[in-house]
């Protein structure tokens, strides 16, 4: 799974052209992974609204706990391992906006059960 981290910038008001160009970058990048037959799920983009429930039952505003970074979305790719998946992140538009791409393996419970 690829998680896209970014820092929200409340002062950023993109023009329609900028939005269009950003959409194209994402579609081209995801299309590229799709063209390699490695896109398992196009995932979802996440908005800026959210609340967080804490262990003591308190609720705070915002999706971010302690850091100002938020997760802006995710996709699921199929790869032989984390190393291959991180190669697929090359060209990800999140990187162009000062964000990060975090790659995590997804646990395969079925094969774990089969093995042991």
């Amino acid at each position: 799974m690829m998680l896209f981290h970014s820092e929200p910038n409340p002062d950023f008001n993109p023009t329609p052209e900028q939005i269009q160009a950003e959409m194209k970058r994402w579609q081209d990048w995801m299309g590229s992974i799709g063209a390699q037959g490695k896109l398992k799920s196009p995932g979802e983009g996440l908005g800026y609204q959210g609340k967080t429930m804490h262990a003591d039952g308190s609720i705070t505003d915002g999706p971010y706990a302690e850091v100002k970074e938020i997760i802006g979305g995710f996709i699921i790719v199929s790869a032989e391992g984390v190393d291959e998946a991180i190669q697929l992140a090359i060209g990800c538009p999140a990187l162009g906006n000062g964000g990060k791409v975090e790659v995590r393996d997804i646990m395969d419970y079925e094969s774990m059960a089969a093995e042991g």
Partner: protein, 415 residues
């Protein structure tokens, strides 16, 4: 009457009659229905070669098939009830067999859904569809699918045996069950059409026929209230746009002429308009299926505006995000070269891992040609030539290779 017309009647009536006989006799014995229809055709051939073709060959064939079925019922009854002495008793038991356009419609619809059972597997579905829905003979199917008679016979035999065990089809399917199988039916129609459109066998007439039959089945589905229409319309739009280029595509003496080099005056504007009408109808409703996206791509290909490539690229992206297919991946890379840059397309092409496909090598050759690197183009064409199997495709690659070599030697002598 022209020979071609006559063979069309045979083809069309073959599927009609088999469907109706199955309607009366049950789909579990497709073979029986086929045998009876074949007997009917043999009878027609003998009789018509003496007395000439009747005014209404269709009616003639239906009448004879009707009688054949009646005879068969009678024989079957006699056999089943040997202990009963009175033969005329079983006569009365034989049901009235009628072959009308209405019954044909019903039976054909049912037949389509039998043939498209997902349990059969793609190739068997295509074989059965060509045989039973399109009335192709074994030779024609073998040619169309680049196979041999024995292999096709085996496939058909196995498929029919599988159908035999579907007793549940005897009781008529509910509306929901029909609608639930629609996706599978659309897939078979799509495959059928692609088979006709992309296969480069030499006999042009077979390819055109397959495309026509696929479209006929699509139109047929639109006539039935049971089905939600958007996907059917999208598929029809797609087929109309592609079919509009069939003549232009196949006008070359050596294999297919690809899109860029086609003579646009050969495009069929009537079919393009039909495609637009279907595409508009397909837009009613919420669904965006892969047929919608592919139809939209085919639509943009009919437009000569250069800005279309960005649209086409985005549609291919969408399609690939929805579902992977090697051919779509290759097409997307070409659109990438047109919309973004050739360099980017070459970089992306190298990630595709389709080295076993000659289409992949052809694509890279084309990209290097666009980039002015004729020596690399030649290298990829040479490997494409080794991988290609179909004669017409080899021919096409060889022509390009000669052209590339000529360009290189011109350049060298100019230096």
């Amino acid at each position: 009457m022209q020979e071609k017309e006559l063979s069309d009647i045979f083809k069309k009536e073959y599927s009609n009659l088999v469907a109706v006989l199955c309607h009366y006799y049950g789909v579990h014995d497709v073979q029986l229905a086929e045998d009876l229809v074949s007997e009917t055709f043999v009878r027609a051939m003998r009789s018509w070669s003496h007395s000439g073709i009747p005014d209404s060959p269709k009616a003639w064939l239906r009448k004879v098939a009707q009688n054949k079925l009646k005879d068969h019922y009678r024989r079957q009854k006699t056999f089943d009830s040997k202990i009963l002495p009175a033969v005329d008793e079983s006569d009365r038991l034989a049901p009235a067999v009628e072959i009308t356009d209405e019954i044909i419609e019903d039976s054909q619809l049912r037949m389509i859904f039998v043939v498209c059972d997902p349990a059969l597997g793609g190739e068997s579905q295509i074989c059965l569809a060509l045989r039973i829905l399109c009335g192709f003979n074994i030779d024609e199917i073998a040619t169309a699918l680049l196979s041999n008679k024995e292999a096709i016979n085996k496939k058909l035999y196995r498929a029919k045996k599988a159908i035999k065990s579907w007793e549940q089809f005897e009781t008529s399917l509910s509306r929901e069950a029909y609608a639930g199988r629609l996706d599978s039916v659309l897939r078979v129609i799509y495959l059928l059409f692609s088979e006709g459109y992309y296969s480069s066998v030499n006999e042009e007439s077979i390819r055109h026929d397959i495309c026509c039959y696929a479209m006929r089945l699509g139109v047929f589905l639109t006539r039935h209230e049971v089905f939600p229409k958007p996907k059917i319309h999208a598929l029809l739009a797609l087929m109309c746009f592609h079919a509009s280029r069939l003549d232009a595509r196949s006008s070359g003496n050596n294999g297919d002429i690809l899109y860029d080099q086609q003579d646009r005056s050969l495009w069929n504007t009537e079919l393009i308009q039909k495609g637009e009408t279907y595409l508009n109808r397909a837009a009613q409703g919420e669904i965006v299926s892969k047929y919608h996206i592919e139809a939209a791509i085919a639509y943009w290909h009919t437009v000569s505006d250069e800005g279309k490539w960005e649209r086409i690229l985005q549609l291919y992206n969408k399609l690939l995000i929805l579902e992977y297919s090697p051919i779509i991946a290759l097409n997307r890379t070409y659109a990438l070269a047109k919309a973004n840059s050739v360099e980017e397309a070459i970089r992306e092409a190298q990630k595709l891992a389709l080295e076993d496909s000659h289409h992949y090598h052809c694509l890279l050759a084309e990209l290097y040609r666009m980039n002015g690197e004729r020596d690399r183009e030649r290298g990829y064409l040479a490997s494409a030539l080794e991988l290609a199997i179909k004669k017409s495709e080899k021919e096409l690659i060889r022509n390009k290779l000669e052209l590339a070599e000529r360009c290189m030697s011109d350049k060298n002598s100019g230096d």
